[in-house]
């Protein structure tokens, strides 16, 4: 049976009914006055998982983290860590450490003192403490900067100090609030892999908040896409990308074309819809087929469409249109195509060759074709 995405995962405790969740949100609601930040949300995260909360600002993802760290208490519902209820446990008694979005480094302390701060609070003796600090400095490659003050470091170095400080106490769970938000793109990409390696090396559970879908896709075992205090979908990056539940999720992660239509016929794996752009055959999410005549949306990613000048003979689907815009990005070229119906869809062509004999230009009439499994039918 084919699987979603191009990577096989061996780590998937969420598929194992016997696995015990490490973190459990049970029907958690958090209100600030009239504003509902988190709305009756339930969520399980497993040990050693790299879990991302993804969503636009104000969707409640940071509130969720702050409840876990102990800075906010749920208005309703329960929170469990390793089977223990967290209600009423103050932040300093939770085996959880947090890396703050602003890094929150103590400006009056050196890098080494910042890292040692939590260890000192635990009453670790000086010898062991110095050893641990040295170890942490080595881990984040900042050995020469131990005596510097935070303001004497670059943004990337500060980020690493914050990380070292948060993992110095060997917490069971590390929560990270937009850990890479303040870094520039290049540094961010490097740091993503560093974070993944660190998580593997230390064997920690990571819970991370981000609004950057690429970041979440790169690093996570699973992603929860949030929308206005609820979870829109939980899944592996491939599940979220290839089999989104709703148009909101499909649109939030990557680019997507959605075409509206009415169901004409369906079997257990495919559905045919009829809309202004003609007949389209697409994949079905799960096995529940919609009723004939129901209004649905067909969603397809730009890179899953073939572009050709002639109508392809053997394609399950083919749409004709006119080239409206072309954007050359180096690794790929994005083409916006205006269909007969007036809808504009986006197609992406991977530039496999440096030289192209007869490139596609503006105003040309072209065909977009795709197989029955390339796109998916969404009911919402």
């Amino acid at each position: 049976m084919p699987s979603l995405g191009s990577i096989r995962r061996s780590f998937a405790p969420w598929d194992d009914p016997a696995a015990k969740p490490y973190i459990s949100f049970k029907n958690v609601t958090k209100r600030f006055g009239d504003f509902v930040a988190v709305d009756n949300l339930s969520l399980d995260v497993y040990e050693r998982e790299f879990f991302s909360l993804l969503g636009p600002s104000g969707c409640g993802k940071t509130t969720l983290l702050r409840m876990l760290a102990g800075f906010e208490e749920p208005t309703e519902g329960e929170l469990y860590l390793d089977g223990q209820p967290l209600k009423g446990v103050p932040p300093h008694k939770r085996p959880v450490n947090m890396m703050f979005q602003s890094y929150a480094l103590f400006p009056h302390m050196s890098v080494a003192d910042n890292i040692a701060f939590g260890l000192k609070q635990d009453g670790m003796e000086k010898g062991a403490r110095d050893e641990r600090v040295a170890q942490m400095l080595k881990l984040v490659k900042l050995e020469e900067f131990a005596r510097r003050k935070p303001h004497q470091l670059s943004g990337g170095q500060r980020q690493r100090v914050a990380l070292a400080r948060a993992v110095a106490k060997r917490p069971k769970l590390l929560i990270l609030d937009e850990p890479l938000g303040a870094l520039d793109k290049k540094l961010r990409e490097e740091t993503q892999f560093e974070l993944m390696d660190l998580q593997q090396e230390l064997g920690l559970t990571f819970m991370i908040v981000t609004h950057d879908q690429e970041e979440a896709m790169t690093m996570s075992d699973r992603i929860a896409v949030m929308d206005k205090g609820i979870i829109a979908q939980i899944g592996t990056p491939a599940e979220i990308y290839e089999a989104p539940d709703t148009r909101y999720v499909a649109d939030f992660i990557g680019s997507v074309n959605t075409l509206e239509g009415k169901v004409v016929s369906s079997d257990e794996s495919h559905v045919t819809i009829e809309g202004p752009d003609g007949r389209i055959v697409g994949g079905l999410r799960g096995s529940k087929a919609p009723a004939d005549g129901q209004t649905v949306w067909f969603a397809i990613r730009p890179e899953k469409m073939q572009v050709s000048r002639e109508k392809p003979a053997e394609a399950a689907n083919a749409l004709e249109g006119e080239v409206w815009d072309v954007a050359y990005l180096g690794d790929m070229t994005i083409i916006n195509v205006k269909l007969e119906s007036g809808n504009v869809v986006q197609a992406a062509m991977i530039n496999r060759s440096r030289l192209v004999d007869d490139p596609i230009g503006y105003d040309e009439r072209i065909w977009l074709s795709f197989s029955a499994d390339s796109g998916i039918m969404l009911e919402r």
């Binding site: 103050p90 979005q101 400006p107 009056h108 935070p150």
Partner: protein
């Protein structure tokens, strides 16, 4: 060219100001303090005058002596006045800090919309003359004043408290008058404090109180030092408050100086007192500046 000149002129203004309104008066006072007492007007023999020739000035300059200063050392009244002033100023600075820090903390934590109003309330007393506000305290603190009436009515006390004309009234007066000078610098440091620093400390194992001391209070130190100096320095030389609220037993150097100048018409000794006071106060100022320079260097 023109611009460079204007820039230089702008920089010159504060220097000229300091020269005419600080350095020159200081030199005049210094000259008087080194002169001899003589009854008449002015009540001192100028040791030298600028209208004399240079030779005369030089002759008189060499005749300058420190007899007024040695006189200060000979009478314990002056030393006691200095010590008592320092003590009163220290205690009231401490009390002002005790009251001012929670106030500043509360203000810094207040919702955004309320903060400007609170700030306004702290500054509001400045709209009334300092002198009038001190007079008002007489009405509050005296034997049959508002405070005693209230306490008697509440049944807290049986007989009126004797506060006015004691050092207690002086403490109350100083704490009241100088509170804004303590609150404002502390407020400005606390307002800039990133709340996530406190959360980080708690996350790393501090209790609420621990995080307060290790982060909030520690990072407010520059504000606390500035506030303490702004209260301590004028409090040492305070005259109006001990004169109006204090009693005959209240010994403060400002009062002693006033008495020397106006009652005894001894300008020379009064000037010597002022010079010594300045020297005493320069010490904490220099210390503060050093500490601040160090803090800036350390990035605190």
């Amino acid at each position: 060219m023109m611009r460079a000149l204007t820039n230089r002129l702008v920089i010159l203004i504060p220097y000229v100001w300091l020269l005419f309104f600080f350095l020159l008066p200081f030199l005049i006072v210094l000259r008087i303090s080194l002169s001899d007492l003589e009854y008449g007007a002015p009540p001192y023999t100028p040791q030298f005058s600028f209208s004399d020739g240079w030779s005369v000035i030089w002759e008189k300059l060499s005749a300058l002596d420190f007899e007024n200063f040695s006189f200060l050392a000979s009478d314990s009244l002056y030393i006691n006045s200095y010590l008592s002033s320092l003590q009163i100023a220290l205690v009231s600075t401490f009390l002002t800090l005790l009251l001012g820090f929670p106030l500043a903390y509360g203000m810094a934590r207040a919702p955004d919309g309320v903060r400007p109003i609170l700030l306004m309330l702290v500054i509001l007393p400045f709209w009334t003359s300092f002198l009038i506000r001190v007079y008002a305290w007489i009405g509050i603190l005296k034997q049959e004043g508002l405070l005693n009436q209230l306490l008697l009515w509440l049944g807290v006390i049986d007989a009126p408290l004797e506060i006015l004309s004691t050092n207690k009234a002086v403490y109350i007066g100083i704490v009241y008058s100088y509170l804004p000078f303590m609150v404002l610098p502390i407020y400005s440091t606390l307002e800039k404090l990133d709340e996530s620093l406190v959360e980080a400390a708690r996350d790393l194992g501090c209790t609420r109180i621990g995080a307060f001391w290790k982060v909030t209070a520690r990072l407010a130190v520059p504000g606390i030092m500035a506030g303490c100096l702004l209260v301590f320095i004028p409090a040492v030389g305070e005259f109006v408050i001990p004169d109006l609220l204090g009693g005959s037993g209240t010994l403060m150097i400002g009062k002693t100086l006033w008495t020397e100048f106006f009652n005894n018409s001894d300008w020379t000794v009064a000037s010597a007192i002022a010079i010594i006071l300045l020297i005493v106060l320069v010490v904490p100022i220099v210390w503060f500046q050093n500490a601040q320079a160090k803090a800036t260097e350390a990035g605190g």
